[in-house]
Symmetry: C2
Subunit: 237 residues, 2 copies
DNA sequence: GCACGATTCAAACGCCCGTTTGAATCATGC
DNA sequence: GCATGATTCAAACGGGCGTTTGAATCGTGC
């Protein structure tokens, strides 16, 4: 399809010095975050990337395939990192089951690493991902399911050992809650931050954030099973 | 602007028997859930509602204002219900501070009621809302912030009394996590369900769901403060 | 230094978008 | 039963969309 071209580096703008495919991916990551998939046009995107309009269809086939490429580029390595880290923890622990907090670390740390890595798109990508979770488009939903399948299965297994009082079904729900809180937190939509009047803007924002999220999630995962009478519907009156 | 017209009821289709404004709102709720705001066209929407294309701009002004109307119709009463229920609990408790679980109930029960009320759009609306949280469009973000401001402030106050070991800032973050898990759960995007292989499809789905979510969130809210060393970045190897 | 595949480019294609318009229709108060 | 304002309607507006095309350009192997 395409031949490698020597990257001719201009001194000032580093973004412009990459090859066409990377320039498109970077611009897409940024614009999909800012405006969403549907609201981002290829004309606007290719202009921002400094490439010809037809380049997206030439290199990626279609706008949808470009979106999947944007997700894959970051998601694949991150989930692999999660699986590897979990495996390493399990190796280090020997025969003893891992603690809940340790397994959570294996989920959170690769995400945190990615969010702090400006060279790998930093937070931009995690916002795109947070939005993608909530997107009803079938091509996005199916894609994400496939991307996450292996990672989720591995972590479910680990959590089951660490939390023997939970049934499989109960754990499935609690993982659902974990993913919800995590994706919202990492996506960091301004609307929620505005709502809750969060002011923090420091550099170590994300690390502090995950240090707050981890105990919250660990406590939730370890909680005793719910009492059926705790949440009965209050009728009228 | 508009004069009231007597609703002429056809026996079979109840949807077609409402007035134009309601028909548009109902169709919009459904289509915005299925395809999102940007991906839903007014031609498709008005056709589904059985009204003329120009009716949206006549009755609501623009597509954006229609979206806000879709949100307001359900969100306003639900948040008012939450505030009222919290006030009632506080009245019943007298001078004693409410438990964390009780305050959570005041948040969850009105949402659960809405989700089970087919006449009020049922789950359709909550999915639209879940998507809206993650939408980057400024007109959506600002609108949601304003809609939630009072409710969030009231509940923050109540939680502060129930959880005296938390600082204001810590509570703000935990409420952030609560809203994230809650909105994900209620929005119930298929992609997450697919990922986690949730099978339940019964009628009391939502009630069971919140009975599972409530203990999880309560435990998270009550968790001790995080240890700074718990989640340190593991460098390399 | 030329041939050839990979890439870039400007232009156009066909289509659908949100909105506006001005006339037709309806419902009501007089 | 007619005047009046609210509502509905078909049609059009201007513009932007994703994609395709075919020629120009580039970069490398011979």
């Amino acid at each position: 399809m395409r031949a490698q071209r020597p990257a001719r580096r201009t001194p000032a703008t580093d973004a412009l010095s990459q090859d066409t495919k990377s320039r498109i991916l970077d611009a897409a990551e940024l614009l999909f975050m800012e405006h969403g998939f549907e609201a981002t046009s290829l004309r606007q995107l290719t202009a921002a990337a400094g490439v010809n309009l037809a380049a997206v269809n030439y290199h990626f086939g279609s706008k949808e395939e470009l979106f999947q490429a944007v997700l894959t580029r970051r998601l694949d390595p991150m989930n692999q990192e999660r699986i590897d880290l979990l495996a390493r923890y399990e190796r280090e622990a020997g025969s003893k089951p891992l603690t809940c907090e340790k397994i959570l670390s294996a989920m959170l740390i690769p995400a945190l690493r990615l969010s702090r890595d400006e060279k790998r798109g930093g937070k931009h990508f995690l916002r795109v991902l947070g939005r993608a979770y909530a997107d009803p488009a079938p091509f996005i939903r199916n894609f994400l399911s496939a991307q996450y399948a292996e990672m989720i299965a591995r972590f479910k297994e680990a959590f089951l050992k660490a939390l023997p009082h939970l049934t499989k079904q109960e754990l499935t729900w609690r993982l659902h809650f974990v993913m919800g809180a995590l994706s919202y937190t990492l996506a960091g939509t301004d609307s929620l931050k505005l709502m809750l009047q969060v002011i923090t803007n420091d550099q170590d924002n994300d690390e502090l954030l995950l240090q707050r999220l981890a105990p919250f999630l660990a406590a939730g995962l370890k909680a005793p099973l719910g009492d059926a009478k705790k949440l009965e519907l209050v009728s009228g009156d």
